[in-house]
């Protein structure tokens, strides 16, 4: 198990190098002169030259990449072209907001999704099941910006009980609506997954065995079936947490939450190259970490792997 873990982590090194290379190349070919962003369009040729020199933008690709990466490894992600702020600080400041939003959304997704999925599976082919299937499929088909805007309209115009935009003092009420939207958006996926996993498990032979032992149906479902279904469900949930962490771009933008997602969009539009680079790398690292967590958790919950 520990060997497996170590091997898995070592395998991440080439992947991370690849990730940084790909990100760096993408940024490298950004159209429009990066220097313009710093010195302005009307800057004199002299000033431009100087800026290019200072930033090392005249060096060949591999040198730029290597110097950037050695800085990254030292924990230095550089400074924003726009406001001269340390990228690392920006991340530390904004990531907690994204994390909070993700955490709340995830809680909603897990609670609602698993409950609805299990009910739907247990009541397979009934009216409840049809309603759940119809609604979740509709939910899966609804883009998060549409549901966000609808919620904003409903709460902003009709039910004026909740702030619909901004972070205010950072208290939980500012997170409620965005978490609800993002959480329900993710819950429909969780519900569909839970349903199909449960249906798959319920028709297994060992469920029949459990029933033949005289065990109450509730225990058959919640102990025997759930424990097995939770293996694929929980690994998927961990992955969905990773997706939420890196995928709240639109929700943050619409609800005006100053998290890492909306900050990335800002950086992208202002061609704030070091910021874009830093944010992308950071989010890729998070994503890879969650990929790793999925593998580890899978090994941990599944006795078949745990003992081999």
């Amino acid at each position: 198990m520990i060997k497996y873990l170590i091997r898995r982590i070592i395998m991440l090194i080439p992947v991370m190098i690849g990730v940084s290379l790909v990100t760096f190349s993408l940024i490298y070919i950004v159209p429009g002169d990066a220097v313009e962003v710093i010195v302005g369009e009307r800057a004199s040729e002299e000033i431009r030259e100087k800026a290019i020199e200072e930033l090392g933008l005249n060096k060949p690709f591999h040198q730029q990449y290597l110097s950037y990466m050695s800085n990254v490894l030292k924990g230095n992600l550089g400074k924003s072209y726009i406001n001269n702020k340390s990228i690392k600080e920006s991340i530390m400041e904004r990531f907690p907001i994204t994390f909070k939003l993700t955490l709340y959304s995830f809680a909603i997704s897990v609670i609602v999704g698993i409950f609805v999925g299990v009910v739907s599976a247990v009541k397979q082919n009934t009216v409840i099941d049809s309603i759940v299937r119809g609604t979740t499929l509709l939910g899966v088909s609804t883009p998060v910006m549409f549901s966000s805007l609808l919620i904003i309209y409903i709460f902003g115009v009709w039910l004026k009980v909740m702030p619909v935009s901004g972070i205010g003092d950072g208290s939980i009420k500012y997170f409620l609506l965005p978490s609800l939207v993002l959480g329900l958006n993710s819950a429909v996926f969780t519900a569909r997954l839970t349903r199909s996993c449960m249906l798959e498990v319920i028709r297994q032979d060992y469920i029949r065995t459990a029933r033949s032992k005289g065990i109450a149906e509730k225990i058959v479902i919640f102990k025997h079936a759930m424990r097995n279904a939770m293996i694929p469900i929980s690994t998927n949930l961990i992955m969905s947490f990773g997706y939420l962490l890196t995928g709240s771009v639109i929700t943050e933008t619409i609800f005006g939450l100053p998290g890492l997602g909306s900050e990335t969009v800002r950086a992208v539009f202002q061609r704030d190259i070091p910021a874009v680079m830093g944010y992308f790398l950071f989010q890729a690292v998070i994503f890879v970490t969650f990929n790793l967590l999925v593998d580890i958790s899978y090994a941990l919950i599944n006795p078949r792997i745990r003992f081999n």
Partner: protein, 334 residues
Amino acid sequence: MEKKEEMLSVKDLRTYFYTHDGLVPAVDGISFNIKKGETLCVVGESGCGKSVTAMSILKLVPTPPGKYVSGEILFKGEDLLKKSHEEMRMIRGNDIAMIFQEPMTSLNPVFTVGNQICETVMLHQQLNKKEAMEVAVEMLRKVGIPLPEKRVREYPHQLSGGMRQRVMIAMALSCNPILLIADEPTTALDVTIQAQILDLMRKMKEETGSSIMFITHDLGVVAEMADRVVVMYAGKIVEQGSAEEIFNDPRHPYTNGLLKSIPRLQGKRKEDLHVIEGMVPSMYNLPKGCKFNPRCEHATDICKSKEPPLIAIDSNNEERKCACWLLEKRRLYK
């Protein structure tokens, strides 16, 4: 023959499935009984309704699409089909236990085998976890699993197929059931392991005195185990009698065919192994008349139009029955 007490008696049981593609009369009006301490073998090709019969006794047929259309299943004088879910639960695993065909998939992969045995014991015998664990260890020892104290903490995937089937037997017998239903318990196992499991089941039966309903398609297994035999074909019983009667004096052409298709070491090797021609009919679209008529070499007009009733064919023994028009004819000519 001494008269034994009837322990389970199935009367005119009909279990149908209502599927998208049509009606499947999986079990279509069968009657039989199992006496105390005897082993009844139910024989037939796959899809003949023998497993559904077993599942019906425990009321484990999924409904819908299944439905118990008619009949009664008398167990200790009470009709199981009339029992509530709760009452059935108290019978399952306690009075009537079941062993399934696939030992590889019939145990829950995420619980230890000890846990799974304990669960039954704690439920039906009101023991605490520690006492139940002792019972589990004892049961594993009884079914011949070495180092039961260690095995009890292992997960199913750590055991071989034969070991798992022993665990299933230990689990089924842990509450001293009156009736053990074994649905092809040895089919998925190697021949040597098969013999061991059959031995074990016989031994356990002698020790506990429980009755066994043994479902199989393998007549070799029947010869080893059966006191009495019921032969099923397409949801119906076509012949029943004691093991001797079935093996020495088969009356139904289907039983005859089954017996002839057992390979034998003695006798002429050159002789081709007998094969029953044709296929098991689709349950969606059963032939008219005798269900076996398309595959029967003796089929006559009446076989194709009218279904033969299951009738007693030995005036001395009311439990010797067969459903075939040939018998009728023979009797007429006699």
